[in-house]
């Protein structure tokens, strides 16, 4: 099939147009399958997106033609693999507005955040010398998160605090789930060393006011960690413009393969941060007693690397860039609005997060009066509609909003208006079926 991403181009420059969703769908083989005898309506892209042929083909081609360990060995295949791996890094750097040596491959966002937390931990126990001083946490220091975080951006910080004697604090959210900036002004203080928060909530779909929080962190000299898992697939992302110190994302949520993610870090920071995983390929010299580490990013990439996944993710970034992230964002916001407005108009259905009509990405979590989210999800699955149910790994947020579980529908570049309509029609029947 087509080797080129679906693009609307004039010469090399994208022309303004909306996404051609029908053409995009032809790139996604999984969307052609049926579920329980019906066409699949996939509305769980926030959990993981489907992958276009361009990504699948790139991965397969890597195994078919090159398949070698990178940065090891002098043979031709090893050279090609290394070249592909490093070009993939360049591609991701470009996609995120960073420089290549600021891009570290990890297995996913969770691994990226844990890498950071353990690197801070290693610094706190004296590793990394004087250079690593700014990463050293002591009793009295504080780490700040928000109440809406995914567990992946919460528990590693809880654990880091427990290991170092630092205190974990949080910025509360209001009833609609928005982080409260006046609270942020109090919580972020001279004791704050790290501020970690999500760019877009995976439950509410709202974009966090990054610049306000970054400004507060800058005032007190704290490091900023941005969880970009749910923004990278939906918005143009420029980590340099956002002025964050670190950012993480998962490839599988942005049309890329499973098993690959990115840690972005400002070069001066990554070069001073002690490594987390140690082993092969991350050293300059090793004696039986000790080792010297390579600069970033190699010092964080111990062991044989997931090259096929990295080139696959680069193909995904290329695919998205080919569509144009501005257009992806515009389409996504349109679908998010349609979802939220449509759901909130159904009797007995309530949408969490920003008021319907307010800006959100293509994501809406909702409650159906008298019907548990698991039952809603099962009812929808029976109609071929895939959604996420539960607390979506954000239990503190659900507790704050006073709900045990919700149902979440989320979109991607391949989502059609008809699919959103199918969801709305189905949700309209849920209460009757369950006699609510």
């Amino acid at each position: 099939m087509s080797g080129q991403p679906n693009r609307v181009t004039a010469g090399n420059r994208p022309v303004a147009a909306t996404l051609d969703v029908d053409a995009i769908r032809r790139d996604f083989p999984a969307l052609r399958r049926t579920v329980r005898g019906r066409p699949l309506v996939y509305l769980d892209s926030a959990a993981t997106s489907h992958k276009p042929l361009q990504v699948l083909d790139t991965e397969r081609r890597f195994y078919e033609r090159h398949n070698a360990a990178v940065h090891r060995g002098a043979h031709t295949l090893a050279g090609e693999a290394t070249e592909a791996f490093e070009s993939a890094r360049d591609r991701l750097a470009e996609f995120l507005g960073a420089r290549p040596n600021e891009i570290v491959w990890t297995s996913n966002a969770t691994a990226a955040i844990n890498l950071l937390a353990y690197a801070f931990s290693n610094a706190s126990s004296g590793r990394g010398g004087a250079e690593a001083d700014r990463f050293r946490l002591r009793a009295g220091d504080e780490i700040v998160v928000t109440e809406l975080e995914h567990h992946a951006n919460l528990i590693p910080w809880q654990e880091l605090a427990a290991r170092t004697g630092a205190t974990l604090r949080h910025i509360g959210v209001d009833d609609s789930g928005r982080p409260q900036l006046d609270q942020a002004r109090e919580v972020i203080s001279a004791r704050t060393r790290i501020v970690a928060f999500a760019h877009v909530s995976n439950v509410l779909g709202e974009v966090t006011p990054v610049s306000e929080i970054v400004a507060l962190a800058r005032e007190v000299g704290a490091l900023v960690v941005l969880d970009a898992c749910q923004s990278a697939p939906h918005l143009p992302l420029d980590v340099t413009a956002l002025d964050v110190d670190f950012a993480v994302l998962s490839g599988h949520k942005m049309l890329g393969p499973l098993g690959i993610g990115v840690l972005y870090g400002r070069a001066v920071l990554l070069d001073a941060l002690p490594p987390f995983l140690t082993g092969g390929s991350m050293i300059t010299s090793v004696t039986i007693e000790r080792a010297e580490f390579l600069p970033s990013p190699a010092r964080f990439e111990a062991g044989t690397q997931p090259v096929a996944q990295a080139v696959g993710l680069a193909a995904a970034a290329e695919y998205l860039a080919g569509l144009g992230m501005d257009r992806v964002h515009a389409r996504d916001a349109e679908l998010g609005k349609k979802l939220a407005l449509g759901l909130s108009e159904l009797p007995g259905t309530r949408v969490l997060g920003p008021a319907p009509g307010e800006p959100r990405v293509g994501l809406a979590s909702f409650l159906v009066d008298g019907v548990h989210a698991h039952d809603v999800g099962q009812f929808l699955d029976n109609l071929g509609i895939a959604v996420r149910v539960g607390h979506h790994c954000a239990e503190p947020l659900h507790r704050r909003l006073g709900v045990a579980a919700s149902t979440r529908a989320s979109t991607s570049v391949y989502t059609t208006d008809a699919e959103v309509d199918a969801l709305l029609d189905a949700v309209a029947q849920v209460r009757k079926f369950f006699r609510a």
Binding site: A373, H374, D375, E395, F433, F434
Partner: protein
């Protein structure tokens, strides 16, 4: 419009129990109690065993969750009154075997009562924990029943259904 497996899953008797939950609301002075949570969705139950002289009088419970977990707790209450702890344990085992049978074991209504209507859950592995929630709570509560205060009834030792 609903598929066959799906109608098997949400049978009318299940929906009835989920709306009118037997044993719902905790009674005072329990002989044993257990709190259980379904890790994947946060469903919770607190279940109490009310026993006298080695015989389970009744169960009472509170909690929240999906139709399957609620109906399952309600159905459990219907079949445990008047049994020894050991007999209760055997019913839990029979229920678990039915759910883990991948649809091969439709359950014996003499043992499981209305809970045979949950046999369809076996075809939906992610929902097995929902169906098991109350039963696991019962098992846990029975384990914590003080053995000396409630000696096993010798007349039923060794009987299996």
């Amino acid at each position: 419009m609903a598929g066959d497996d799906f109608r098997e899953l949400y049978q009318d008797v299940l929906l009835d129990h989920s709306r009118e939950r037997h044993g719902y609301a905790l009674l005072p002075a329990p002989s044993a109690e257990s709190h259980q949570r379904n890790r994947s969705c946060g469903d919770e139950i607190t279940l109490r065993v009310h026993a006298r002289e080695g015989i389970v009088d009744c169960l009472s419970w509170t909690g929240q969750g999906c139709a399957i977990s609620q109906a399952s707790a309600s159905m459990l209450c219907d079949i445990t009154g008047g049994l020894t702890p050991r007999e209760c344990g055997l019913r839990v085992a029979a229920f678990r075997a039915m759910l883990q049978s991948r649809g091969k074991d439709g359950g014996d209504s003499d043992v499981l009562g209305d809970a045979v209507a949950l046999s369809g859950v076996a075809l939906y592995p992610p929902r097995i924990n929902c169906a098991m929630l109350a039963w696991v709570a019962l098992e846990d509560a029975l384990n914590s029943l003080d053995a000396s205060a409630h000696p096993p009834d010798p007349s039923t030792a060794g009987t299996t259904k």
